[in-house]
Amino acid sequence: MRSTSSMTEIEQLYCRHGAALLLFATAITGERSRAQDAIHHVFLKLLEDEKLQRATDVKAYLFACVRNAALNDVRARGRNVALADEGLAWFEPPSRDYAEEASLRRALAELPDDQREITVLHVWGELTFAQIADLLNISANTAASRYRYALARLREVMCAKENSCVDPG
């Protein structure tokens, strides 16, 4: 059985990265409940196998595990709900503007899968392009260029409406 310190370590990792991992898994599965199941599955597996101690980059390893679990879930059950159609918020928007939140969700949903993954990993997961490249088995340049395409597309969709997409300063 795993020691209490390791359990605490895993709980701390969940506290630190849980929200970004959940967003990443939701961006793959399309359903928050399934994404949550995938994350719980990953963390329980980590607790049992004690593989985390062998990981050199713990954060990247966590995202890789969650990606595999979410993709397995999508393969096994199919994506029954279109992305962003579930109605549950993915984000806590600034100044509680949930119209903006829905707009971002829709914009993310319109992105191709690989671009959406890279955007979530880089913006909210705070992974570097090198880490993303390792995770997705692509080059860092490819990751960076896909990210730029994704940003341009997001900006186009979100800033199309007048007075939306306000400059944070």
């Binding site: 059985m1 795993r2 359990m7 895993i10 709980e11 969940y14 849980g18 929200a19 970004a20 991992l21 959940l22 967003l23 994404a35 949550q36 994350i39 719980h40 963390f43 329980l44 607790l47 549950l88 918020a89 993915w90 984000f91 806590e92 928007p93 600034p94 903006e100 939140e101 971002l104 913006v123 909210w124 730029r148 940003l151 997001l154 900006r155 800033c159 997409c165 306000v166 400059d167 944070p168």
Partner: protein, 137 residues
């Protein structure tokens, strides 16, 4: 006002904070998973205790058990020595009925068998010894 710069737009996106998930049920699940292990350990300990008791009983038994007829006779002797009458069996009842002059006499013999047997040589009755001993005031 739109954001033409990628960095500025990225900052804008970061203002949206991902919604936190449900708390991790690691402790409860880990405890639930360990519960069968605890149960198995308790069962193993209980089984070991039972085995130890059985083994101790078997060890304290005589190593060379007597044969069936010999065992029966020793059992009967020891029961007689301790004042217990031999059990009434169909064979002994038949023998009594054959030897008795009447049915009533046979029944009486069965009912009123002598219970106090003489103590074998070299043994003393504790009751007799106690009755002889002076009681200190």
């Amino acid at each position: 006002m739109s954001i033409p710069d990628d960095d500025q737009f990225e900052k804008y996106l970061k203002q949206f904070r991902p919604v936190a998930g449900e708390p991790l049920m690691v402790k409860e699940k880990a405890e639930a998973r360990s519960r069968p292990l605890v149960f198995a350990a308790c069962a193993a300990v209980a089984a070991a205790i039972v085995l130890a008791v059985v083994m101790s009983v078997l060890v304290h038994k005589p190593t060379q058990p007597p044969g069936p007829t010999e065992e029966a006779s020793t059992t009967r002797v020891s029961m007689e020595e301790f004042g217990n009458p031999p059990p009434l069996t169909i064979a002994s009842a038949n023998a009594l009925l054959e030897s008795a002059p009447s049915f009533k006499a046979a029944i009486d013999n069965m009912a009123f068998q002598q219970e106090s047997k003489p103590i074998s040589e070299g043994r003393y009755s504790l009751l007799a010894l106690l009755s002889k001993e002076d009681v200190k005031q």
